[in-house]
């Protein structure tokens, strides 16, 4: 099936070369980081996780979202989604790959990464995160490849693939729950120490991932002869609407607990993020921007007229992605470490090499996504789907 | 051969790259390692194990030492002849073999091995 990847129009190759250039720059910066150590990033003794781990957290959510298409199709026989489950699965593969890469670039001693396998430690959530992420990657690779391959040949996929599909559904929920558990069990970090964190993660995953999937479907329709379908996009819009509402609702619940109880430990991180603490308020404009985009997204998604029109729905999806990315990709990690255990504020902002490495990993993910989507779309065009 | 020109060209480039270390070193023989024992080492007569065993597996010994010292807190080693030694690369091994450049590095350089021990463990200052 990889033969379909090697034939494409100019735009396809141009896009891939563009991504390769960004990947190259990222790699160069990573070699610099490998040499000098993580001191070239903005991380510090107080904010010891930063941009890389934040991107990882956001992308686990995007990866988990494949289940939002798989579940209705396989468990509720919603036949329409049969057209796009492959797109959801391939998005999951690209997202999980980026997650693994972000963990890798964040490690102080990446050459020792096998230690996590050589010395399994079941009491550590990172151990389980490694298992569920790699398992999910393998699941989607096997499922996606076999289903697509069977579609090309005009046969039904082998029955053992069905077993894997059923396993992948709860597994998708587990990957983001386990990732939330990384944060939600740490006694000193009150911004994260909340039972609702895992639920928040899932809600934000299930709106941001499908939002990205929806935009990708619109792009696929534009650049190829395969049309994911008006009904599919409309249903996705409905899913995104509910998930975004839950996401915003859960956030408001957190705000209530923090500010009605007036407990300083609970309030401080929100104060830091939205108005600044001790003079440090660099994130405030970002968080309010996120709030603004979240408001726009909810408005466009709740009102049926704007949700059903594809152009306003696309704007809503972009707003969802911006809002959720700022919340998870910036606010979550930095806010969790601020203020520090001594009630002081240490500023964190990603440095240029850090941003370039991040872009390099994103480009790698989009490269994999483009290649896989080219394969899926070409085969769907071939069989006249 | 279909695309024969490209294949032959590719083969030449590929094999050339693969063989490049041999071409680079052609005609030069690497200098055999010459390990020199310090006076202290000569007087001590015995290392941890005998020479053959140390040459063959000093790295395994050091790996086991670092595991048992750091993780189990077992800092002392009883040699076959009964002498008790403090398990430390820096303090015990390098006490006798303080001439790292003429001892340790001789074989390591020859084998192109760069143990990362010295990233943390402090090598003795070489006497000029």
């Amino acid at each position: 099936m990889l033969d379909t990847v090697l034939k494409g129009k100019q735009g396809y190759w141009g896009w891939l070369i563009f991504l390769l250039a960004i990947m190259g720059v990222g790699l160069g910066c990573y070699l610099y980081q490998f040499q000098e150590g993580l001191r070239i990033t903005g991380m510090s003794r107080d904010v010891s996780w930063g941009f890389y781990i934040a991107q990882f957290t956001y992308l686990v959510g995007v990866a988990a979202s494949g289940v939002m298409v798989v579940l209705p199709y396989y468990l509720h026989d919603y036949k329409a989604f049969g057209r796009i489950t492959i797109l959801g699965e391939f998005l999951a593969i690209a997202a999980v790959t980026m997650c693994i890469l972000f963990i890798f670039v964040d490690l102080g001693n990446p050459v020792r990464i096998m230690n996590v396998l050589l010395y399994p430690t079941p009491n550590s959530i990172l151990f389980w995160d490694m298992i569920v992420l790699n398992g999910y990657l393998l699941l989607n690779l096997f499922i996606g490849w076999n289903v697509l391959s069977a579609e090309r040949k005009g046969t039904h996929y082998p029955s053992w693939v069905k077993v894997l599909i059923y396993i992948s559904i709860p597994w998708a929920f587990s990957i983001h729950t386990v990732t939330a558990f990384l944060y939600a069990g740490l006694p000193g970090r009150h911004y994260w120490l909340s039972a609702i964190l895992a639920a928040r993660f899932l809600a934000s995953a299930f709106c941001s991932g499908p939002a990205l999937l929806l935009l990708l479907c619109l792009i696929v329709r534009k650049v190829s002869k395969f049309d994911p379908g008006k009904e599919q996009i409309r249903t996705l819009g409905g899913i995104i609407a509910y998930a975004m509402l839950l996401n915003v609702f859960f956030f408001i619940l957190e705000l209530f607990t923090a500010f009605y109880s007036q407990i300083p430990g609970h309030m401080h991180s929100f104060q830091f993020l939205f108005s600044g603490l001790e003079g440090h308020g660099r994130l405030a404009p970002w968080m309010w921007t996120a709030a603004g985009f979240a408001f726009v997204a909810v408005l466009l998604l709740v009102i049926p007229a704007t949700r059903r029109k594809e152009d306003t729905l696309a704007i809503a999806c972009v707003s969802v992605i911006i809002a959720t990315w700022i919340d998870k990709g910036l606010g979550l990690v930095i806010g969790g470490f601020t203020p520090n255990p001594f009630d002081r504020v240490t500023d964190y902002w990603p440095t240029t090499p850090e941003i370039l490495i991040t872009l390099g990993v994103w480009a790698t993910g989009f490269f994999i996504l483009t290649v896989l989507y080219k394969m899926a779309v070409s085969i769907k065009e071939e069989v006249g789907a | 051969m279909y695309d024969g020109g490209k294949i032959i060209a590719g083969l030449i480039i590929g094999i050339g790259l693969l063989m490049s270390p041999f071409f680079y070193n052609a005609g030069k023989a690497a200098k055999a390692p010459e390990r020199v024992l310090t006076e202290k080492a000569k007087q001590a007569k015995e290392c941890i194990l005998d020479k053959a065993q140390m040459t063959a597996s000093h790295f395994n010994l050091l790996d086991e030492w670092r595991h048992t010292v750091v993780r189990d807190g077992q800092r002392y080693y009883k040699r076959a002849d009964g002498k008790v030694l403090y398990k430390s690369l820096q303090v015990t091994c390098m006490d006798c073999h303080s001439n790292k450049a003429n001892f340790c590095d001789q074989c390591h350089n020859y084998m192109a091995v760069t143990p990362y021990c010295w990233d943390c463990h402090i090598a003795p200052e070489e006497k000029k």
Partner: protein
């Protein structure tokens, strides 16, 4: 032979994976020499090491002597950077040592009191719970130990520690001998040629001087502090009811940092 190419490739691939994987699994999981040694009796089983610091006796000289004794013995570099600093024991004021305790009506003596903070070697340590490689673990004698050979630098332990006790080597600590701005502050680094430095990419922290404890000596911060002000530091075994530290804790009121989090810290501040 009715086997087709596809089936042959499948069988060959599967056998290779099982063969290689099986050997790898056997090598990793089979009990070997190393495993046997870890089954030996753990040192100090039954002990519970703890430190009591008398806040009334801690002054600037105690702080500087204790800090430099520790940092010099353990080759901790002075990186002159709040961002990258490495500290095993350090000075902090009341408000920031015990966030939330301070109110507006306390006297100046407590308000301006100085505290020495270090790893609490908690009895219920969250850092050990989260480490994916057991590069940090709790010994039988209660000390939370670091194995810099195994640490992959994921910094999960740093996120988990509620006390900010852990430092990470963001770069190569030995660069203090190469970078002109840092050379002056680190004359003679590495100070202790009998103790290693660390390398970039690993986490480090106070170890209650395990290498000295095992020789029957005491932690260096304590020895240095007590030379300046006798009784400022008391180190001992909490599991021994007759130990000096136990009787001290019975007699004097003591604070522990963030006790409400249940990590059961073993550094006590006598007020």
């Amino acid at each position: 032979m009715g086997i087709d190419r596809r089936a042959f490739l499948k069988i060959a691939g599967l056998s290779t994976i099982l063969g290689l994987g099986g050997k790898a699994a056997f090598d990793i999981l089979a009990p070997g020499e190393l495993e046997a040694s870890t089954n030996a009796a753990s040192p100090g089983a039954g002990k519970r090491w703890a430190m009591a610091i008398d806040a009334r006796l801690v002054d600037d000289k105690v702080i500087s002597e204790a800090t430099s004794a520790c940092h010099r013995h353990h080759n901790v570099p002075d990186l002159d950077s709040a961002k990258e600093e490495i500290k095993w024991i350090w000075e902090e004021d009341y408000e920031h040592s015990f966030p939330g305790h301070q109110h507006e009506f306390i006297g100046d003596d407590i308000k301006h009191a100085k505290f020495l903070l270090l790893c609490n070697h908690c009895s219920n340590p969250p850092c050990c719970r989260v480490c994916p490689t057991k590069a940090t673990w709790q010994r039988a004698d209660g000390i939370v130990m670091m194995d810099p050979h195994r640490c992959v630098g994921c910094r999960f332990c740093m996120a988990a520690c509620p006390f900010g006790a852990r430092s990470f080597n963001w770069g190569d600590p030995r660069r203090v001998t190469r970078v002109p701005e840092l050379v002056a502050k680190n004359q003679g680094f590495p100070y202790n040629k009998d103790y290693p430095t660390r390398a970039k990419g690993v986490v480090e922290k106070c170890t209650f001087c395990v290498d000295l404890l095992e020789k029957g000596e005491q932690p260096l911060c304590m020895t240095a502090a007590n030379k300046v002000k006798k009784g400022s530091f008391t180190f001992g075994d909490l599991s021994d009811p007759e130990s000096p530290i136990r009787s001290l804790l019975r007699k004097r009121y003591s604070l522990r940092r963030k006790f409400e989090l249940g990590t059961n810290p073993n550094v006590f501040y006598l007020i």
